[in-house]
């Protein structure tokens, strides 16, 4: 009898020991992102020995990540448990994500930048927690601007063209301005910045398509002119995504670059970068509308609705951990990805490691969102098609905007 008791006790104990919940999480691998995440996950697992987290690295292109998510979700898979979601996806994926509205105070969402929380809210329900936020910024070569007597980074697009032309005329093998011009989501982000700085918009607050305007044509024409008329951007930008632009800037081949904050830490790493210590950061220049604009980017964390209750509980712990003050600070310093919690921007450690984040704080808070709708993928797809056609001179800017408006109206009308 006693023997049986001991045996069953042992059995129960061993079951408890092995009942670790395993959850999976998708993650990006841009710059130092993945390295940093692995370190964070290690810390999380040490603090929570009953949870095992396995990381599924995802392709860098957000379009390809989207495809993978569609496959997992349409199949009703319970994995991955935690999704890393682009700010433009929550509306589209909402039916497949766990409703976190009741956990609002658990995640301390009141301490977050309101705009980022709004991105994760669909029809009043919270389905994703802001992990890091992004805004397009202008990187520039401080040393080159100094050398040619330009005291400040450009305030307007015209100034940028002038400075870029002056410097590239004298420096060998140097591009003026690199950005993201391949046919993918990044092109829409870049275009939105030009567009809003020219006073245009894609869809207004009532959901009406307002892209067919002179401002849109002028903004797109300016992008085309950067390549073919002013020749400050290489024709190759029509094949560039973030990493192509970053690598060419990192190798000292460009005066200006439009990119996200993540590039900062690698650009200043003397082991990889030829321009370490020579890089400055500024808000993107203003257009004729007299204002500059940065597209709101960033990524959120959502939980798979099909996961088991134990997995969901573990996933919530992980999301809470990754979006906590300390971990946001760690991520900001080491991966250069911007915090979503307001107080982190006041931290002296952040000011030391990434001063521009603190200086450009108001820009991150005021970044412009892309249209928030479940149909965003379709809208973006139409925009990419016509923007790229104009950039590769298959049609004029005027024609591209007209056709884009026609197709966007069809998308909004729906099928």
């Amino acid at each position: 009898m006693k023997k049986l008791f001991v045996v069953s006790l042992l059995l129960v104990l061993s079951l408890v020991a092995f009942s670790r919940v395993t959850i999976t999480m998708t993650a990006g691998a841009v710059g130092k992102e993945l390295e940093v995440l692995y370190a964070q996950i290690d810390r999380f697992m040490k603090a929570n020995p009953d949870i095992k987290v396995s990381v599924m690295p995802m392709p860098n292109s957000s379009t390809e990540r989207h495809d993978l998510y569609v496959t997992y979700l349409a199949a009703g898979e319970k994995e991955p448990t935690v999704f890393m979601l682009d700010v433009i996806w929550p509306a589209e994926f909402a039916p497949f994500l766990e409703d976190l509205t009741a956990d609002r105070s658990y995640f301390e969402l009141d301490k977050f930048i309101p705009g980022t929380v709004k991105s994760g809210t669909v029809n009043g329900k919270i389905v994703a927690i802001p992990w890091f936020t992004d805004a397009g910024i202008l990187y520039y070569r401080k040393d080159l601007l100094d050398k040619y007597g330009f005291k400040n980074p450009p305030k307007t697009w015209d100034e940028l063209v002038k400075i870029a032309q002056t410097i590239t005329a004298k420096e060998k093998n140097m591009y003026g301005f690199v950005w993201q011009g391949a046919r993918y989501e990044g092109l829409v982000c870049d275009f939105m910045e030009f567009l809003i700085s020219y006073g245009g918009d894609v869809i207004d607050d009532t959901g009406k398509v307002v892209i067919n305007s002179k401002a849109s044509v002028d903004a797109l024409q300016f992008m085309v002119d950067l390549i073919y008329k002013y020749k400050v951007s290489p024709q190759a930008v029509t094949t560039y995504m973030e990493e192509e632009a970053r690598i060419s800037f990192l190798n000292g081949q460009a005066v200006f670059m439009r990119n996200w904050p993540y590039a900062w830490s690698t650009l200043n790493d003397p082991k990889e970068s030829k321009v370490a210590g020579k890089v400055g950061v500024a808000p993107l220049p203003a257009g004729p509308a007299g204002r500059s604009a940065a597209t709101l980017g960033g990524w959120m964390l959502g939980i798979n609705k099909n996961a088991t209750p134990e997995e969901k509980a573990a996933a919530k712990k992980l999301v809470k951990f990754l979006t906590s003050y300390d971990e946001q600070l760690y991520k900001a310093i080491n991966a250069g990805q911007n915090p979503t919690m307001v107080d982190v921007y006041k931290d002296p450690e952040l000011k030391k490691a990434a001063p521009f984040m603190v200086e450009l704080y108001s820009m991150f808070v005021n970044a412009e969102p892309r249209p928030r709708t479940a149909k965003y993928s379709e809208i973006s797809d139409v925009m990419q098609k016509y923007l790229h056609a104009a950039l590769t001179q298959q049609m004029t800017a005027q024609q591209a905007i007209q056709d884009m408006a026609k197709d966007l109206n069809k998308v909004v009308a729906g099928r």
Partner: protein, 295 residues
């Protein structure tokens, strides 16, 4: 009589498992795609499935993007299959001649075909890269392209670059099939022709070509079928930008990008059915014109 029924039964019993597997993995999805093409449907749970008859097909032929993709697909297919057949035939005749290291050459020839398309496309993409790619540098040195013009980013060159990769990759397959056909031709025929005084060209056009005609036909069907549903090489190299979007690449947009955004699932299915129909049309043309016996 009884023994024969028994035999038939056993035969059926042996064929049945294979038939079952084929119906599950081939006919069922095919039927389902046909069926879905008559509906407005989405993978998004809150969109209701609705019967719409032939509306998806009618809409497709009003869709300029579909028509462009159709044009691009047919252009890609005709040009790439044409080059592959001509080059494949030349290479097959060449390696059918006895020479030193023939075995090694035949094996080496197959390397491009053995590399998975996803990998070779990425490899070529790097070679086409502006400013650093080896092909870009080569073509610039030969003054065939202007410096700074991205090969995969220009509408004039992108499709040709993709066709070049496809030709590089699948010519070996064509050559291999034709080589097999060549080896079936008895040497006596050539000997007799030589005795009768036929020259090289006469021997080639009067003996070789007629005798490998059906082999070429089969090879053509295989290749055309593949080319009409080309996806990987286009998607990896240009994602369908600069006028290179093919039907399968557009279908990815409909079925993946728009899976949860609207009722596009039936529309995508209709597009799949059209690819299927297109392939059938080509197959029938080949079979009729090359007099291939299917039995």
């Amino acid at each position: 009589m009884k023994a024969k029924t028994r035999e038939t039964l056993i035969a059926w019993g042996m064929v049945l498992p294979a038939l079952l597997v084929i119906s599950i993995i081939a006919f069922l999805p095919l039927f389902q795609t046909f069926y879905n093409s008559f509906f407005d449907a989405s993978l998004r749970p809150d969109i209701e499935k609705r019967f719409v008859g032939f509306k998806n097909y009618a809409d497709l032929f009003q869709d300029p993007r579909f028509l462009d993709a159709l044009k691009n697909t047919i252009f890609f297919t005709i040009i790439s299959v044409l080059f592959e057949t001509i080059l494949g035939l030349l290479i097959a005749v060449l390696v059918n001649q006895p020479f030193k290291l023939r075995g090694a050459v035949r094996a080496a020839m197959l390397i491009p075909w053995a590399i998975p398309t996803a990998i070779s496309s990425q490899m070529w993409k790097w070679m086409f890269e502006p400013s650093t790619g080896i092909i870009t540098k080569l073509l610039e040195a030969l003054h065939m392209i202007k410096p700074g013009v991205p090969i995969l980013g220009s509408p004039q060159t992108a499709m040709w670059a993709i066709i070049a990769v496809d030709v590089w990759k699948t010519t070996p397959f064509m050559a291999l099939l034709i080589l097999a056909g060549l080896q079936l031709i008895p040497e006596e025929l050539y000997e007799a022709a030589r005795i009768d005084g036929a020259n090289v060209w006469q021997r080639f056009s009067k003996i070789t070509i007629p005798l490998i005609q059906s082999t070429i036909g089969v090879a053509l069907i295989f290749r055309t079928l593949d080319a009409l549903r080309v996806f990987d090489v286009v998607f990896i190299m240009t994602r369908g930008s600069v006028n290179t979007e093919t039907l399968a690449v557009y279908n990815r947009v409909l079925l993946m990008d728009r899976a949860f955004t609207g009722a596009w699932f039936g529309y995508g299915s209709a597009l799949s059915v059209i690819i299927f129909a297109l392939i059938s049309v080509f197959a029938v043309i080949y079979i009729r014109s090359l007099k291939i016996k299917l039995e």
